[in-house]
């Protein structure tokens, strides 16, 4: 005979449909989203990892001031590597964007065609798919480069530009204003050589070398190149963000998402735990009778375990199906919207299955198991007498200074402490998510504003060779790039002591100012010594810091030009560029290495906003759903636990509104207290996470939480509570007065 207790499940679901739908939806959405994230991430990561061999991605590249001669190439290739020329020419488009053009690569860093076809004849060009998408460019559109018109015949993913970093030293890639492109060999040769870069990629012959052996080989190549004095750029693939950033980010995302899943699962498991405990309290008499009749503890344990596990398992199955279908597409869309990834194939992800199905099931199982183990340990008689808690000798907390209604509410709060503790934990977690989702856009806006407010000049010209200009408002400066011991690039400026461009603080001789970002990231204060290293040489500089300067656009050091020239052993009057408040027209383009304008300074904020905007929005939406479900489930349980008391006070003459004011408003009070306490806690947690994350990135974005976020967060939580309050009112109205009389024992 099948256990007749099994027949209760179907009816229990019907009777408690709201609770099960809420739990099921929340679980399914969470598991679905995370499963989609892991499946898409896993498939993408595999495609990305395989692209190294599939598209013969370089092991590193270097750029020389002139073409490499055969002797140099042979010397490098003697290290059992193959050297491939990857000459490229960068041009500014009419809209100010930059396009870097290559010939088609056949042997190294091959290109993945995403749509259309590769250039077959002159006048055809393929550009990066993501840049095309971001700028609404389609196949067959025209593009004018260096006065020549090209027809876009396809969109592609360059295997060495999965993240579109214009320079390998940039803090962030820029898929909005920078693209790589490929044309026929003839077209490449016909474009102006003024902007040509003699870049060479190398690839190690032996593909089985260990990471250390590869690094040793790269170091040997660097030494060979250093001897030539021609090197202008050098990077091994392991350090190249254009190649590595994507892989690191996909991996990092999955760790974050999995951690998020487990926190949510723990909160949900506690809801199951509180709910199971309440059910046991409610059905105590029945449990006692069943145990007295001969039902074993194990049978009852299985009975009460069934629903939480069933809901979790079904949600996990549906969530996984969603993960492999709809959710995967959402995540893939997010990845494709951030990175120039090659095509991928959806792969079965055993790890995702374990992380999103087996472990959540185990978390719920473990929490409910503990609750049941503790609850069902009691004797049948204790259940029959409803003695589920040990008789405490604690004194009743005196609340004589409060009026009756307040005392009643406080007693309800004390009676439901576990449920309210779960509510607080859930509110805290949802608030952290909400704050993170809400803070990033204002943070980036604030960063943009700060960068623009503190910019040194409208135009920063970086020259290849010193040239004089006529415009009297232009001011000479010197700049060089050094690095910290961790390899992070630090820009060192030498500025005139009487600079008209450097705001707020003059840079006197001997003074060394670090930007606030540099100070925060590396904990450098006035009086400290900052050690910086040459990039390609084993030379270091110790700079005694004398103050700080507000320049959020970069991690930088400011000193007077005289000091700069002395420290770096340059001739008096040495300079590398101009600050100018207007465009300088009398510098020949061949002498300009780069021009830094406003949009270059804010590129990181623009790119982050663009690629992460959807995720921020999703986080906000998810947090609001979490608020509502949590409050709904826990408030519902508190009312169910007190049905008899509610029924009784209704008999005494309390109106539904008064009952709600006692029971639902107690939840409201806890909600308000939770929200108030959560705000500073969230601030602290977010700050901790933010600093930890930023320390791993190149550069620094000033930590900023817009003040309006705090009241908006509070209001969001409170509005969610009000919405649930009205649902609870409906439930309270439905509780019959006879309930109390029926259940009197």
């Amino acid at each position: 005979m099948r256990n007749p207790l099994n027949k209760t499940y179907k009816r229990e679901i019907r009777q408690d449909l709201g609770k099960y739908i809420a739990l099921f939806l929340f679980l399914t959405l969470t598991i679905g989203f995370i499963s989609g994230f892991l499946v898409a991430g896993g498939s993408m990561k595999t495609a990305y990892d395989e692209s190294f061999e599939k598209y013969a991605v370089e092991d590193g590249h270097f750029t020389l001031a002139i073409q490499a001669n055969d002797e140099l190439t042979e010397k490098i290739e003697a290290e059992q590597v193959k050297v491939y020329p990857l000459y490229n020419k960068s041009f500014n488009l009419d809209n100010g964007d930059t396009v870097r053009i290559y010939k088609e690569r056949k042997s190294v860093d091959r290109i993945c065609l995403m749509d259309g076809k590769m250039p077959e004849k002159n006048g055809q060009i393929v550009i990066d798919r993501l840049y095309a998408e971001n700028n609404g460019i389609e196949i067959n559109d025209k593009m004018s480069i260096d006065g020549k018109s090209f027809e876009i015949c396809g969109v592609v993913a360059f295997s060495d530009y999965s993240a579109l970093f214009k320079n390998t030293t940039d803090m962030m890639f820029d898929a909005n204003k920078f693209t790589v492109a490929c044309v026929t060999d003839d077209d490449f040769d016909s474009l102006s050589d003024k902007k040509i870069k003699y870049t060479y990629a190398w690839r190690i012959d032996d593909r089985t070398l260990s990471e250390k052996e590869q690094i040793d080989k790269a170091d040997k190549i660097k030494n060979i190149l250093s001897e030539t004095g021609l090197i202008t750029d050098y990077i091994k693939t392991a350090d190249n963000p254009a190649i590595q950033f994507t892989g690191d980010d996909i991996g990092k995302d999955s760790v974050m998402m999995t951690a998020m899943l487990y926190i949510i699962m723990a909160v949900l498991a506690f809801i199951f735990g509180v709910s199971t405990r309440n059910t046991i309290e409610k059905e105590s008499g029945t449990i006692g009778t069943l145990r007295a009749s001969g039902y074993t503890r194990a049978e009852l344990w299985r009975h009460y375990m069934f629903m939480p596990i069933l809901v979790t398992v079904i949600a996990a199955i549906v969530g996984n199906v969603m993960g492999y279908t709809f959710m995967k597409h959402v995540v893939v869309m997010m990845y494709y919207h951030s990175y120039s990834l090659p095509t991928y194939v959806t792969l079965w992800n055993m790890r995702a299955f374990i992380l999103t199905t087996v472990i959540p099931g185990l978390i719920v199982w473990a929490v409910v198991f503990v609750v049941l183990f503790v609850s069902l340990k009691l004797s049948p008689l204790q259940f029959l007498r409803h003695e589920l808690k040990p008789k405490k000798k604690n004194k009743v907390i005196k609340l004589k200074h409060f009026n009756f209604i307040t005392r009643y509410r406080i007693r309800i709060i004390f009676q439901n402490l576990p449920a309210y503790f779960t509510l607080f934990a859930g509110v805290l977690f949802a608030s952290v998510l909400l704050m993170f989702g809400m803070m990033m856009s204002p943070l980036l806006t604030n960063f943009r504003t700060e960068v623009l407010d503190s910019k040194i000049a409208d135009y920063q010209y970086v020259l290849k060779a010193p040239v004089e200009v006529e415009y009297a408002g232009a001011e000479k400066y010197a700049v060089c790039a050094l690095q910290t011991d961790t390899g992070e690039e630090i820009t060192v400026y030498g500025i005139d002591s009487d600079s008209t461009y450097m705001k707020d603080k003059a840079v006197g001789i001997g003074s060394v100012l670090v930007t606030y970002g540099l100070s925060e990231k590396y904990g450098i204060e006035s009086g400290d010594t900052l050690e910086l290293f040459e990039k390609y040489e084993e030379k270091s500089y110790n700079l005694k810091v004398t103050g700080k300067y507000n320049y959020p656009a970069a991690l930088a050091v400011f000193m007077s030009r005289d000091t700069f020239n002395r420290v770096f052993e340059k001739a008096d009057g040495y300079f590398t560029g101009y600050f100018s408040d207007k465009k300088l027209t009398d510098i020949d383009e061949m002498y300009i290495a780069t021009v830094i304008t406003q949009s270059d300074l804010t590129v990181i904020a623009d790119q982050l906003d663009d690629s992460m905007g959807l995720l921020f929005l999703l986080m906000c939406g998810f947090s609001v759903i979490m608020y509502i479900i949590l409050i709904y489930l826990l408030a519902k349980q508190i009312i169910e636990k007190n049905i008899n008391a509610i029924s009784m006070i209704k008999i005494l003459g309390y109106s539904d509104k008064e009952v709600a004011s006692l029971y639902s408003k107690s939840t409201g009070v806890v909600m308000v207290i939770s929200l108030i306490f959560c705000l500073p806690l969230c601030h602290a947690v977010i700050k901790l996470i933010y600093y930890a994350v930023m320390k791993k990135f190149n550069g620094w974005l000033t930590f900023y939480i817009a003040p309006w976020i705090y009241p908006v967060m509070f209001l969001t939580g409170f509005i969610c509570y009000v919405a649930v309050y009205f649902l609870q009112m409906k439930k309270i109205r439905k509780i019959p007065m006879g309930e109390a009389l029926k259940n009197v024992e």
Partner: protein, 232 residues
């Protein structure tokens, strides 16, 4: 004797709060008898019933049912023992709220390898017409009948009833008592009823009166009458 109780002691609390509930109870009940445990509140009758049912343990003394000593059983053995041999009816019905009458009785049937025919029980208890109702659609008497059905369907050797009419009105109480009597006659179960209603003793084969944890009277009722005839 089918049920033998020897020198049973039970106390609750410690030190100054120690209360001796049972002080050396020795008695017995023959198989197939109806035994009524009478006594005022606090006399120890429910505690005695619970020790017989294995849901309470005695401080000392033994309870032997058909040769098996209940006191020496482990928790698991006790569960199995209750499952096989005992049926329980309480003052509060403790039915499963989202199961129908029929299904609530099946909860008892599940515990037995050879349960009594369900339809038969439903008819005997007068619940046939209500078999598809859930507990909150029933009167108190109907709910108690369902609880009795749940207890007797597994054909227990002993039916333990703790104040089975405590929450019922006069007429319904008499109906329930009649039902218990019918069950005893039809299925040969030994029935032990705990009550403080003195009139119920008239339907018993044996009456044990308790006061302050001790047996004040243990009598065989020679003038047993039917449950329908008793009055109070």
């Amino acid at each position: 004797m089918y049920l033998e109780i020897n020198g049973l002691y039970k106390s609750f609390g410690k030190g100054e709060n120690l209360t001796e509930v049972l002080k050396g109870i020795t008695c017995g009940v023959d198989k197939g008898n109806i035994c009524v445990l009478l006594g005022p509140s606090g006399s120890g009758k429910s505690t005695l019933l619970n020790i017989i049912g294995g849901i309470e343990t005695a401080d000392c003394g033994t309870v032997t049912i058909n040769g098996d000593t209940v006191n020496h059983m482990s928790e698991r053995e006790l569960s199995l023992y209750r499952r096989k041999h005992l049926g329980y009816v309480f003052q509060s019905y403790n039915l499963i709220p989202n199961l129908t009458v029929k299904e609530n009785i099946e909860v008892g049937a599940y515990l037995s390898d050879a349960p009594l025919p369900l339809d038969d029980i439903l008819n005997t208890l007068g619940l046939w017409e209500h078999r598809n109702k859930i507990p909150n659609q029933l009167s108190g008497g109907q709910q108690q009948r369902t609880a009795i059905g749940r207890a007797i369907i597994k054909n227990p050797d002993i039916l333990l009833c703790d104040e089975p009419t405590g929450a019922l009105d006069y007429n319904t109480s008499k109906e329930i008592l009649k039902l218990i009597e019918d069950v005893n006659r039809r299925f040969g179960s030994t029935v032990i009823i705990v009550t403080h209603n003195d009139a119920i003793k008239n339907m018993a084969d044996r009456v044990i009166k308790l006061r302050d944890g001790m047996i004040r009277k243990d009598i065989v009722n020679e003038q047993k009458i039917s449950a329908t005839e008793i009055d109070w």
